[in-house]
Symmetry: C2
Subunit: 197 residues, 2 copies
């Protein structure tokens, strides 16, 4: 069964088999409840596997990283976004395009450093915890959604942006909102400025 792949972008060299791109964007859509419950099963399994919350968090982040480095190709192919010219534009792209596409929500973005390299994504709603009442008492340090941090970190790395991504606030831990912090580090490559020179 051959399907059109005309929307594939070739300007990002990633050694990964691109998923087949459907001719209809809606063919890729699903309700997120199955995802949310499956994610819950994954976290529960890791909590069985690892006694320490920190180990679960690390594992979720690592899994997310592996997902991010693969998901970026799908994102670039289907979003057809242009290259971002600033950290600020990149942060907005993550919030308004990527979160919308993959989680169906749009966090708000704020810049938190004079240097312009630290951003917060604020989620009023976090669909990933829709079915979670609260964290068990013995899992107080669990970053339940830590996979997301890894996904963002992995995806950014594939477009040559090194970043630290962590949860700064979490409604599951009693905070008013859920906040993901992104700190852009020194660029691993300076490809981005080539065009302007």
């Amino acid at each position: 069964m051959s399907r059109p792949s005309g929307r594939k972008q070739d300007n990002h060299k990633i050694d990964w088999h691109l998923p087949t791109i459907s001719s209809s964007a809606s063919a890729h859509h699903m309700s997120r409840e199955l995802f949310v419950l499956t994610y819950g099963a994954l976290v529960a399994q890791l909590c069985k596997d690892y006694e320490k919350d920190e180990d679960v968090n690390t594992c979720l982040d690592r899994m997310g990283y592996d997902i991010g480095i693969r998901l970026i190709e799908d994102f670039l192919a289907r979003s057809a976004v242009k290259k971002c010219r600033s950290y600020s534009e990149t942060a907005e792209m993550i919030a308004q395009v990527a979160f919308k596409m993959y989680l169906g929500v749009t966090p708000s973005v704020s810049c938190c450093s004079a240097a312009g390299n630290e951003f917060s994504l604020i989620l009023d709603q976090n669909p990933l915890v829709d079915f979670v009442e609260e964290l068990p008492a013995e899992r107080a340090s669990l970053c339940y959604c830590n996979l997301l941090c890894g996904v963002i970190r992995g995806a950014l790395e594939m477009v040559h942006l090194a970043a630290e991504v962590t949860f700064l606030q979490d409604k599951l831990k009693g905070d008013a909102v859920t906040e993901i912090g992104i700190i852009f580090l020194k660029k691993t490559e300076e490809k981005k400025h080539k065009r302007n020179k």
Copy 2:
């Protein structure tokens, strides 16, 4: 933040906290690639945890069951489907409404027994394996998507339909299509016929 819950149906008594129902159905939509990759991470983790394929399969089925008994409430609330009056109608509902809603694909359905209680869902495309090249040689007996069988089994049980759900064919194992077999067993309750008597 209060949101309308007018689409909730009350005719199914399930002791489970219903997820908040958004006023816009599209608010629940996401691209499925993140789900597909996260599911892959879950299977990979279970393959680390269990040496035998059979144990991974059992675990995926059990996880799916736990998901199905929760997902059914969301399904009934958002699909607003009527009660099915036959096994055949139920099988069509699973294929045309549930699969479409939660995976974005619609399997074809065929009845495979004179008694009218055995059905096959045939998937030409299986989005869950989009990123999977092939099963590793040492995992030849793995039912990679076995979670789906558990989800269907769990969801059916919550509407008082006992069923055996298994993979009969799997493209990942070289079969021409992916086929999920559903055998409806004796009903656990006969509520269904109340209205007609």
